[in-house]
């Protein structure tokens, strides 16, 4: 009777251990992926911020970060950041640049605050 009870306890504890262990692994992988995407987004944003100052001098105007002229440069980083957050490619491909960029900034903030 006691042996049976101990066996059940052991099985339950084993299940709990493996479940929590694999959950932690998945969570770590997600965080790691998130960290990489966030870094690449930050690097792209830094580049674009400098670039727009230079372009602004050439065009003789103050260019907005949301200007669609930066779409080709920013889109890959924005897409990878949003896809990481389970946004579907179909939903993203029809979005205009400013909406995409704005969404990415807000999502970026959420990830940063989670860490």
């Amino acid at each position: 009777m006691k042996r049976n009870f101990m066996k059940k306890v052991f099985i339950i504890l084993s299940i709990l251990f493996f479940t929590s262990h694999s959950y932690t692994q998945v969570e770590n992988q997600t965080n790691l992926k998130g960290k990489t995407e966030v870094s690449s987004f930050e690097i792209a944003l830094k580049g674009i911020n400098k670039d727009r100052i230079e372009k602004g001098k050439i065009y003789g105007e103050k260019i907005s970060l949301f200007d669609s002229r930066y779409e080709s440069k920013m889109r890959p980083s924005i897409l990878s950041l949003l896809q990481m957050l389970n946004y579907k490619t179909e939903e993203l491909k029809n979005m205009e640049y400013h909406s995409l960029f704005r969404t990415a900034l807000i999502e970026y903030n959420k990830i940063k605050n989670l860490k």
Binding site: N49, I53, S64, L65, F66, E96, Y97, S99, R102, I106
Partner: protein, 181 residues
């Protein structure tokens, strides 16, 4: 049908954000201190309001700070944003040029003046005790809704006021301040 519902949810999420929110993203390796945030009446300039804190609001390297209207609104400037850390309790009102400023509680300012006020300027400094310089980025004057300040060898403080639905510059839009170096 599923795609349609998803699209509706996506659109709803964009329109759900406060149109006049202020987002500050410090992606630089140094601190960004806000000395003062100023607003003005959209068409007639006065009254004006100023956050005018006794000590600067410090935004450390690689952190963010937002002012978002509470309750959520697409028309009210976020004078009252209790979710901000630190939040702004009082705003200083100037009714006419040269008039003595008077302090009013932020929730009162939001409910009475929030709908007609737009961002006017942001006064800031960078680095420990402002060692990397500082400036006031002015908006609206001359219908300019983008501005920037350069610091150090690669630093940029940029400000953009845009309509969140069109992405176009707009006096009534939301403000994005992004600092990089």
């Amino acid at each position: 049908m599923k795609t349609f519902i998803l699209s509706l949810m996506l659109i709803a999420s964009f329109y759900g954000y406060s149109q006049k929110s202020v987002y500050i993203y410090n992606l630089s390796s140094t601190n960004f201190d806000i000395g003062d945030i100023g607003t003005q009446k959209d068409s007639t300039f006065y009254p004006k309001f100023s956050s005018n804190p006794t000590t600067a609001t410090n935004i450390p390297a690689y952190t963010t700070y937002s002012l978002v209207a509470s309750p959520a609104s697409t028309t009210v400037f976020p004078f009252y944003s209790p979710s901000s850390n630190p939040d702004i309790d009082y705003w200083s009102r100037i009714i006419t040029p040269g008039a003595t400023p008077s302090d009013l509680p932020s929730n009162l300012v939001a409910s009475i003046y929030g709908a007609t006020q737009v961002i006017d300027y942001v006064k800031f400094q960078l680095g420990p005790n402002g060692s990397l310089g500082g400036a006031t980025l002015s908006l609206n004057s001359g219908n300019s809704f983008s501005d920037f300040y350069l610091f150090g060898s690669n630093g940029v403080v940029s400000i953009d006021v845009i309509d969140p639905n069109t992405g176009l510059p707009s006096a009534n839009g939301e403000t994005w301040i992004i600092i990089t170096d």
